[in-house]
Amino acid sequence: MATTTAPTTDRVFVETTPAERTGTLHRIIVYALLVLCAALVLIPFLWMLSTSLKTQDQLFTREINFIPNPIVPENYIRVWERLNSIKPGMTFTRIIGNTLFITVLAMFGEIFSASLVAYGFARFRWRGRNLVFAIMLATIMIPGIVTRVPGFLIWKELGLLDTYDPLTWPSLFAWGPLYVFLMRQFFLSIPRDIEEAAIMDGANVAQVYWYIMLPLIRPILLAIAVLSFQGNWNNFQGPLLYLSTPEKFPLALAMRFFDQSLSKEAPQWHYMMALATMMAAPVLLLYFLAQKQFIEGINIGAVKG
């Protein structure tokens, strides 16, 4: 792997050896490739930003301009005015509120239930545990489409279509097996002595969980909170299936609504990219603030998997 030579003490002359020269060349190639990959990642992203700040006549030009002239940040307000012109209820605060409402409730339910279930799998011995755990992991493979039709029918029977219920409280049933798995791995890495001491002192399970385990698993709770926020904020399939009143839409559906009603004949890419940027912004912000948690969260599963 390491082609750079370690500095040796017996070399007195400052002179580049062939090995060092290939080392420099090697580094140049590595960085050139990294920069190329970075460009491939960033160009589409920058194009989204750039488009969102253009006027309509700047959209279809013969040359590629990344810097709009003039720059029109008003797009971010006008896109909502356009939406309100056909659906007065779809205001910015309402749609953001809907998205946050769904995201926060689902995220909270996911974290809470997953931590309980993971605790049960990691810290208590009971007959059938390994089998149940294996079944839980196997459910990851079931494609969502198989349960989608019956799921829809269940909510229809309950009379809860076009409410936020299907998107929020089922999270209390640990609907993300992956999160349970990640937390279990983390529980397993915590030494048992601390909780055993507490049990000796007469603490019950709820107390041990709340006062001892939760503070100890804070890093993984944070990591999962971040992943879960992102997953629920970006969720499209669930809302598409269950919500039908435009005023109740989260951002993902508002985007689809704009696309299908206002952008059908002549695509309004500047407005659509403004919406896309608005939807990506909170997730990006969270990502940059909590990058450590993000990377940790995705890696725990992968390395031990």
């Binding site: 990959c37 589409p44 993902a252």
Partner: protein, 374 residues
């Protein structure tokens, strides 16, 4: 929130959310008490009570739902009338495939196919050729697009990810910076990204503008990426790769970092060159991470949804399985047929994962397992 309409739609859900949470707590308590009453040890009783939230969800949203889906796949059901049992009719329709031969080049497919069969694949060889037709043409067109897509996208993505992970493992400066950057596409909302790519690949979009001189030199027309079958796969692969390979490389990098340096030193003492080290140390040690990536990206590639929902394609191109089934169920209201299609898809995914798992014993190396055997 000053909007009264918003509160009206929030609070009933909030109330039910709290009630369900209390209900789950009660069930956990009852499960614990009942076990204690039957003389189960406290530790086991607590453990079982704690996993109850998942068990309840599993029974309702997996076991019951999957059973219901299987039942529905043998019925005709449009939501307005009760499901009507039709036996294997849906599956028979679904697998109504017909292979016919063409008598001459350019002969219309409809001339050689039976009524209600539409062309799926057409191959012209010499003076004649073959045509494969199907009754459920939408589904088979989705298969025609989705299976080759997965077959190309998964290995390409894995190779690309491995390449980037190896680059990042070269003791580069600012590792966390590169890592954050490369993981970026996986964080962005799939919905926003699907729209962005539709815009970039559109007729007058940035990609066609960029390559306009190239088209002129090669003397080809400006591609219509999502309506022309000869371009659609390329466009979808690019979109798919952009979305995953950075993220996968971050996962593989963690695997690379976990390889003990001693192994490379030992290999060097044995006279191993760079390639030998890669082949006999890196690959075996990384195989569990590669395996994990292979499984998850195969499942993901077969379940593309947002891209299909936001990027309209022509009939000649077809769409992705997940979206095709979604439309069958919720646009055309053929719940029975959609369930049958979903079951075929489930079986395909299970077969592929089983295949990967079976093959894993040949190439995935688990350190712990080897040590135990030794």
């Amino acid at each position: 929130m000053t909007d009264p309409g918003a509160l009206q739609s929030y609070w009933p859900t909030l109330v039910r959310y709290v009630l369900v949470a209390i209900g789950v707590g009660l069930i956990m308590f009852v499960v614990y008490r009942v076990q204690i009453a039957f003389g189960v040890k406290r530790e086991a009783a607590t453990g079982r009570a704690l996993v109850m939230p998942w068990v309840i969800g599993f029974l309702i949203f997996n076991v019951f739902a999957i059973g219901a889906s299987l039942y529905l796949s043998f019925t005709e059901y449009n939501l307005f009338k009760a499901p009507e049992w039709v036996g294997t009719q849906n599956y028979q329709e679904l697998f109504s495939l017909h292979l016919a031969s063409l008598d001459s080049r350019g002969q219309r497919s409809s001339d050689v196919l039976p009524r209600r069969y539409e062309e799926i694949i057409r191959v012209e060889v010499g003076d004649g050729g073959l045509v494969l037709g199907a009754k459920e043409d939408g589904f088979w067109r989705a298969m025609r697009l989705n299976l080759p897509y997965a077959l190309l996208n998964v290995p390409l993505g894995l190779l690309g990810a491995l390449g980037v992970a190896l680059l990042l493992n070269q003791k580069v400066r600012g590792l966390s910076f590169w890592r954050v950057l490369f993981y970026l596409p996986a964080v962005l909302p799939a919905v926003a990204m699907a729209l962005l790519w539709r815009w970039m690949f559109s007729q007058t979009g940035i990609i066609n503008t960029l390559f306009a001189p190239l088209y002129q030199v090669m003397n080809i027309e400006t591609p219509r990426w999502f309506t022309d079958p000869s371009y659609a796969m390329t466009a979808f692969i690019i979109i798919g790769l952009w979305g995953v390979f950075g993220a996968n490389s971050v996962i593989l990098l963690a695997g690379l970092k976990g390889i003990p340096q001693e192994l490379y030193e030992a290999a060097a003492i044995d006279g191993a060159g760079a390639w030998a080290k890669f082949r006999h140390v890196t690959i075996p040690m990384l195989s569990p991470s590669l395996f994990y990536n292979l499984v998850t990206s195969t499942i993901a590639a077969l379940q593309i949804f947002e891209v299909a929902a936001f990027i309209p394609t022509s009939e000649a191109v077809g769409t992705f399985l997940n979206w095709q089934i979604y439309q069958e169920a919720f646009n055309f209201r053929n719940m029975g047929m959609a369930s049958a299609m979903a079951w075929v898809m489930l079986l395909i995914i299970l077969a592929l994962t089983a295949l990967i798992f079976r093959s894993s014993s040949a190439w995935v190396f688990y350190q712990g397992a080897r040590e135990e055997a030794a």
